[in-house]
């Protein structure tokens, strides 16, 4: 703690550089209107079908993201069909690490849709701005209201409520903001409570309930016409969350995510903006397996993850050239324990660390550059250089399977990327390439008897794993006119030393339902290919169609399939809107997963098709803009599970939802 205080006291006054990430900072910034990033075209946190969505549902609408689902809550986002170890997931550039060894708490589970403005997804090395990555980056951007342009004081607020019938989910989300020319405050509060959901055969899926409370507060003060300070905090607590696909549930998870930022803009010169943020976050996660009668033995598995760090970004511009330079520094301590009780609880317990107090320190400098060669073409290039240090306090746990492995390990993580974009009339094309390293995650390097209920193996980390090295190429082509647009994007990753679990011939399982022990090991290489095709067409002035098709294929060095790779999938929707009245319908589904991986516990997942419909009506009630919506997901009550549903747990059957939004 002392260290932390010193960290804050020493670093806060001495902030010395670098800031905002965007290539779209307006050219002549005269006054500071917004503390946050003026990013990439903002997407509101809602899908076409549903206006009151969870963060997971929103992410699911991105063509690059798929999910591993262990229940109704806290889905693990896969970017480019790669698991969370391979992507960097940040909140406004801040690194937060889940405290659950079983990945029951991805970072996306610690925010709520009403405190986010948008989610910025970058594929591959183009996402290396926030740190070393292979798959790309997912940055959750919080809401931050701009300063009022004149001395008027502005209050804004929104309230959303709704009920979903399938799992009796009731939610209330409220947010309020105040802006003057000197001071801004953003606050949000939300609560969701859901019971068990029912599958397509109207059977109740036990242990799928959840409760979530989330609150956030942000305060910004303009210290001069071109500078401001901002403090932010998010508090999130989930209780009694069921994970039907796992042998245990969550009793409580809690996160506090805090930051203090200073932003300075410049009228002229090469550096146009710099934004420096100090942050601290603490996550705790307590599993509970006492509600499962099949567990004859009970095991407490608490986990803690504490991170503090610094992110500092500068935005540079001169003529046709823009650049973002970002410094990322953080320190994370991950601790996870297992305590098993004999049948006679008074007897001595059995204890081990599944994360033996593992410290990760990272410092990295990243740069993205864009140069407009001509009106038609742009070159993007950049790179990152990171220093990654790990220390395992109770390294004796790691020595059991890997005798003599070092207690400390330092890795250098370089990354490079370049792309070329060309716009010719209504066509645009891009080609790009990338190269990057990533360090093994805490579980992959230092995990100890982490039970994976999908393949039912206990996993052991290997501290001596090599860096994963990714070689990537990507390309896209698109056409756009007044009524339609079509785009195709593809990428290919050749990943050396791809980390997977390999059966160990030694040792025996520890967890009750486990069948053996796997150690993390490096494949010689793995290959991943992702293809997406998206299109939209305005059939009539008020009738719009969108469609999306994705395909992925991934194999290991022997030509075998990798797990959790999405089969050919599609999404198509029609949207009609007229005079405040809207109706939308969508159909989405996956084809059968032919290229499954039995080695990792997968089996053939059959095709499924989901049809959804919703209607909404927008009207003004006094000074309030009001929207009411009702709809149904999975109208045909299809009984299905997807390729990434842990343990083939059936998904939700027909779900009628209603919601009301009031804004002022």
């Amino acid at each position: 703690m002392k260290l932390l205080v010193i960290f804050f006291l020493v670093l806060f006054p001495g902030m010395n550089a670098i800031a905002q990430h965007t290539h779209a900072e307006s050219d002549s910034v005269k006054t500071l209107n917004e503390v946050s990033v003026t990013a990439i075209a903002r997407r509101k946190i809602e899908t076409e079908l549903k206006m009151a969505v969870s963060v997971d549902e929103f992410l699911a609408s991105s063509e690059r993201i798929s999910f591993i689902k262990r229940g109704a809550y806290a889905w693990e986002p896969l970017l480019n069909n790669m698991s969370t170890e391979r992507s960097t997931i940040t909140i406004d550039g801040m690194h937060v690490f889940g405290a659950c060894t079983d990945k029951m708490d991805p970072i996306t589970s610690y925010v709520e849709s009403n405190n986010l403005a948008t989610i910025d997804v970058k594929s591959g090395q183009a996402g290396s701005l926030h740190g070393a990555t292979v798959a790309g980056s997912i940055d959750l951007k919080r809401k931050s209201t701009p300063f009022a342009p004149n001395s008027e004081k502005q209050w804004n607020g929104a309230y959303q409520t709704g009920f979903e019938f399938n799992n009796s989910q009731f939610f209330n989300l409220g947010n309020l903001s105040y802006a003057s020319d000197k001071f801004v405050a953003d606050g949000s509060i939300s609560r969701r409570k859901a019971g068990n959901y029912h599958n397509g055969m109207d059977e109740e899926v036990n242990h799928s309930q959840y409760q979530k409370f989330n609150a956030s507060l942000g305060l910004a003060y303009k210290t001069s016409p071109l500078s401001s300070v901002r403090v932010d905090a998010i508090f999130d607590q989930a209780d009694d969350v069921g994970f039907p696909a796992l042998p245990m549930d969550l009793w409580r998870s809690r996160a506090i995510i805090t930051s203090a930022a200073y932003k300075q803009l410049f009228d002229d010169g090469l550096v146009r903006a710099w934004d420096t943020k100090l942050y601290f976050n603490a996550v705790e996660h307590y599993m509970d397996d006492t509600k499962r009668p099949e567990n004859l033995v009970h095991m407490d598995m608490p986990g803690w993850s504490t991170t503090f760090g610094l992110v500092s970004q500068a935005n540079l511009k001169r003529g046709d050239y823009t650049a973002d330079v970002q410094l990322n520094v953080y320190n994370n301590l991950s601790i996870a324990e297992m305590t098993m009780y004999p049948q006679d609880r008074s007897k001595k317990t059995m204890f081990a660390y599944s994360w033996p107090w593992v410290t990760t320190r990272f410092a990295g400098l990243s740069m993205n550059n864009a140069w407009d060669i001509s009106a038609m073409s742009t070159v993007n290039f950049g790179g990152s250089l990171g220093w990654n240090y790990n220390h395992s306090k109770y390294v004796e746990f790691n020595w059991i399977f890997f005798p003599g492995s070092p207690q400390e390990k330092t890795r250098i993580l370089p990354g490079l990327h370049a792309s070329y974009q060309l716009n010719v009339d209504q066509f645009d094309f891009s080609v790009g390439t990338g190269y990057g390293h990533r360090a093994p995650s805490v579980s992959e390097a230092y995990g100890y008897y982490i039970y994976n209920s999908f393949d039912r193996y206990d996993y052991i980390g290997n501290p001596d794993l090599k860096n994963e090295v990714s070689y990537e190429v990507n390309a896209s082509a698109g056409f756009r006119d007044k009524r339609m647009a079509i785009a195709v994007k593809a990428n290919y990753f050749h990943i050396q030393h791809y980390i997977v679990g390999r059966i160990l011939s030694l040792g025996s399982p520890m967890n009750y339902q486990s069948v053996g022990v796997k150690g993390y090991a490096s494949l010689d290489h793995a290959k991943l290919f992702n293809l997406s095709l998206s299109a939209n067409y305005d059939i009539l002035t008020h009738l719009h169609w969108t469609g999306m098709l994705t395909y992925a294929r991934a194999t290991d060095d022997k030509g075998g399939n990798l797990p959790f790779i999405r089969p050919l999938s599609y999404q198509t929707s029609l949207h009609f809107m007229h005079h405040g009245f809207g109706i939308q319908t969508s159909l989405n589904g996956d084809f059968a997963q032919q290229n499954f991986s039995p080695e990792y516990g997968e089996d053939l997942t059959p095709a499924y098709r989901i049809w959804n419909v919703s209607v909404d009506y927008t009207f003004d009630f006094k000074n309030f803009k009001t929207v009411v919506q009702a709809g149904a997901e999975n109208i045909l009550n299809e009984y299905y599970s997807t390729y990434a549903d842990w343990g083939n747990i059936p998904r939700m059957g027909r779900n009628v939802f209603t919601s009301l939004t009031v804004k002022f």
Partner: protein, 307 residues
């Protein structure tokens, strides 16, 4: 500045976790007490000489005990010049039958130290039915001395220093005693044990009681102790650990191997004792299957430990 105070306050608040972390080091410490200090357990005056025996923590325990014997001149307090120091523990049961336990009869003079070194593997603790006495002999100036002294053998609370006594397939009586580690860790541990065979007397007792020839033990040589550590609790489903090494004899006469404990709790060291020719004298192979909910089967030769 206010912002910093606010942030630090928030951090402090956040650090107060819902559930406390396990104090692993304290848990390991309390699990098994490791005694490292030799303290006097016997002090007896024999004429002009004072005989002192030291053992770890100043007590004798069921199982392996290293002992240090010191003889001083009771008048001057100086170390006496002695030779032929002998040590014999004798157990008498309720029926008045005498027996001994594995021990070093001729104590070793340790160079550069003022004591004689030996050990005794007490096979039972003292009780109303069983009493223990030490018979000590030594020679000073060609003058033999002999004395006996009643002692108390306490229960061994540290299960990591357990022992087992059995009759092998060769019809000989054996004792296996754990000597190290006193305080194992979740880690690779060097496992040290002694294997002792009772030498059946070849002639009837002669001379004054006790006739040492009736009570001799041999530290057996060239044997192998095959090791398979497992957690016997039903909930652990016969869990085992990797990278263990069978125990073989080293120059100190003791048997050294490696045991890995993957977690704290109850463990059973399943053993098979092989003689120089590889013949199994005691012990059976145990199933290696993972069988959750079923108590792990133990070898016919095993020692339970707990840490």
């Amino acid at each position: 500045m206010k912002i910093i105070y606010f942030l630090v306050a928030v951090c402090l608040a956040a650090l107060s976790c819902t559930k406390e972390k396990t104090d692993y080091e304290a848990a390991i410490d309390s699990g098994a007490t490791e005694f490292t200090e030799f303290k006097e357990v016997v002090n007896v005056l024999d004429g002009d000489y004072n005989i002192s025996i030291e053992a770890l923590n100043g007590a004798f325990y069921n199982g392996y005990n290293e002992i240090r014997l010191k003889i001083t001149n009771s008048h001057t307090g100086e170390i006496a010049s002695v030779s032929a120091v002998t040590f014999l523990p004798i157990n008498t049961n309720a029926d008045g039958v005498s027996s001994s336990c594995p021990h070093r009869y001729d104590l070793l003079s340790i160079p550069d130290s003022n004591y004689y070194s030996g050990y005794s593997v007490f096979t039972s603790k003292s009780s109303a039915d069983e009493t223990w006495e030490l018979y000590i002999g030594f020679t000073i100036a060609n003058q033999p001395h002999a004395l006996k002294y009643p002692i108390t053998v306490q229960e061994q609370k540290n299960k990591n220093l357990n022992m087992t006594a059995f009759t092998g397939k060769d019809d000989e009586q054996y004792v296996i005693a754990l000597i190290a580690p006193h305080r194992p860790k979740v880690a690779e541990n060097e496992l040290v044990a002694g294997i002792y065979r009772f030498n059946k007397p070849t002639s009837p007792p002669a001379g004054d009681f006790p006739d040492p020839a009736q009570f001799t033990y041999t530290e057996v040589g060239g044997y192998t102790l095959m090791l398979d550590p497992r957690m016997p609790e039903p909930s652990m489903g016969n869990h085992s650990s990797p990278n263990n090494r069978d125990l073989t004899q080293e120059s100190d006469g003791l048997y050294h191997g490696v045991v890995n404990y993957t977690m704290t709790g109850n463990w059973t060291l399943n053993l098979m004792m092989l003689n120089q020719n590889g013949r199994i004298l005691k012990g059976t192979e145990v199933p290696t299957d993972f069988t959750p909910g079923i108590e792990g089967a133990k070898s016919e030769l095993y020692i339970d430990v707990l840490f």
